[in-house]
């Protein structure tokens, strides 16, 4: 009987397809670690420049941490509630409490995810050993720039706010003219990434926003604190004329040129308290 030879190329492609479909998150941590270790090697020629930039960035970050703490104090003042709701207040100000304990990890951006055809991510040199876990918000100054995706011991891959991942959907508030007090009583929208460097805020009504308005995170998206800047409205309209208006938002920070960021840690909350 003549033996039939299995074609090797299609078999190898089928194996790749099986791995991609059956184990989509396989070796996530290992891949992140590998990328973290390879990128500094690739950038070794610019080590001196990088060191100078890093010193400068460190100084800037120090000021940013101070500013974050000032913002935390302001949020805590606003969050003052009657004593009988003290337990509830503790739950609601968890992000501020994280900042209060100084639970902010400074991290350097290593690679900016150019290896992907459609996704927007970057790699940072802070991982599980620093307390970083998936889902934590990543900030630069008072701007939200991403959400932690995959984590290994020493590195983490961050999904940028303009990535199309469902993890990067946030409740958003439009602040007309950038004045926070005008936001009282306003409805919120849903902010999602578009993978082209912009964000799209949907579920808005006619006249609810205008070009130049500031967009910040709204309540209800644990553990992302309320009030972090998402960007500035670039265009506002109802292109498909279905009565639902959308705002195209440009992030304040240049997400392609981030050099260092802060990861906002969340302290463990007693499940019973959270359930209340």
């Amino acid at each position: 009987m003549r033996s039939r030879r299995i074609p090797r190329a299609p078999a190898a492609l089928l194996a790749c397809l099986a791995v991609a479909l059956l184990f989509p998150h396989a070796l996530g941590g290992a891949r992140t670690t590998l990328a973290g270790r390879l990128v500094p090697v690739a950038e070794a020629s610019t080590a001196a420049d990088e060191a100078a930039q890093w010193r400068e960035a460190y100084a800037r970050r120090t000021y940013e941490v101070i500013r974050l703490r000032q913002e935390r104090d302001a949020v805590q003042e606003r969050a003052a509630v009657p004593a009988d709701l003290e337990g509830l207040r503790q739950v609601e100000v968890v992000p501020s409490a994280a900042a209060a304990t100084g639970a902010v990890v400074l991290a350097r951006v290593l690679d900016r995810g150019s290896g992907s055809a459609v996704r927007r991510t970057f790699l940072v040199d802070a991982g599980r050993s620093s307390g970083v876990v998936p889902g934590l918000p990543v900030l630069q100054g008072n701007s939200l720039v991403g959400i932690v995706g995959t984590v290994s011991d020493g590195y983490a891959r961050v999904l940028r706010v303009d990535d199309i991942s469902p993890s990067c959907r946030f409740p958003a508030l439009i602040l007309p003219g950038g004045r926070e007090e005008d936001a009282a009583g306003r409805d919120d929208g849903l902010c999602q990434g578009t993978a082209d460097g912009r964000l799209l805020v949907s579920f808005l009504a006619k006249g609810q926003a205008a070009a130049g308005d500031l967009v910040v995170t709204g309540p209800g998206r644990h553990p992302v604190p309320e009030g972090l800047v998402l960007g500035v409205v670039e265009r506002f309209g109802d292109d498909d004329r279905d009565g639902e208006w959308q705002a195209v938002v440009r992030p304040l920070r240049d997400l392609d040129r981030l050099s260092s960021v802060c990861v906002l840690l969340t302290p463990a909350v007693d499940p019973e308290v959270r359930a209340k």
Binding site: L21, S114, T150, P166, L190, R221
Partner: protein, 201 residues
């Protein structure tokens, strides 16, 4: 020794891809180096070699993106296999054919990547919802009319892909000339390609 050239080629492709800003790669007319290398390997070599080369580049790029393990390997390996299989029906030595193949390859590959990303995003959404983080957004998104977001995203995806495909097609002439002169991917070349090249076709 020739294997070292192929390895060097993979390193150059990965380093070149990572060295440029993501906005250039995804939205600008920057050539897709991985596609260029795989199309060259497919035009000059056998389906097996082109597939193996594509899979190797895909796995080398794998740590630098959030896509599922093996997705890029599948797409680039599939591209190498398909183009090499079609070689007998193509005038592969003609620069116009090579440019057209590179253009189509980028278009198909990026759109396939976007389609596969949508599939894996559904799983990401389930994971994120399980952690409770995006319950609000999921509930809101379920009642959304998806046309506007999808329309915006498709528009930007098509314009970015078109720019990348044009950039890649324009880069075929210099990149293929460099690869021909240096013989970097010589280990992948078939005898027919070598004969055609030495005959000056």
């Amino acid at each position: 020794m020739k294997g070292a050239g192929v390895l060097l080629g993979i390193v150059v492709v990965v380093a070149g891809t990572l060295a440029v800003p993501v906005a250039w790669v995804q939205g600008g007319p920057f050539p897709d180096l991985a596609v260029l290398a795989v199309v060259y390997a497919a035009c000059s070599g056998t389906p097996e070699r082109a597939t193996a080369f594509g899979i190797a580049i895909g796995f080398a790029l794998c740590p630098f993106g959030p896509e599922p393990l093996g997705q890029q390997a599948l797409l680039l390996g599939g591209l190498g296999w398909l183009v090499a299989r079609l070689n007998r029906n193509l005038y592969r030595e003609r620069i116009g054919t090579q440019m057209a193949v590179a253009f189509l390859a980028v278009m198909v590959l990026r759109l396939a990547s976007a389609g596969m990303a949508e599939t894996s995003l559904a799983r990401e959404a389930a994971l994120a919802a399980r952690s409770g983080g995006i319950a609000w957004a999921s509930e809101r998104g379920a009642t959304a009319s998806p046309g506007s977001l999808h329309g915006y995203r498709l528009g930007s995806l098509f314009s970015g892909t078109l720019a990348g495909a044009l950039g890649t097609a324009a880069a075929v002439l210099p990149v293929f000339a460099i690869l021909d002169r240096t013989g970097l991917l010589g280990a992948l070349e078939s005898r027919a390609w070598r004969r055609a090249r030495s005959a000056g076709v």
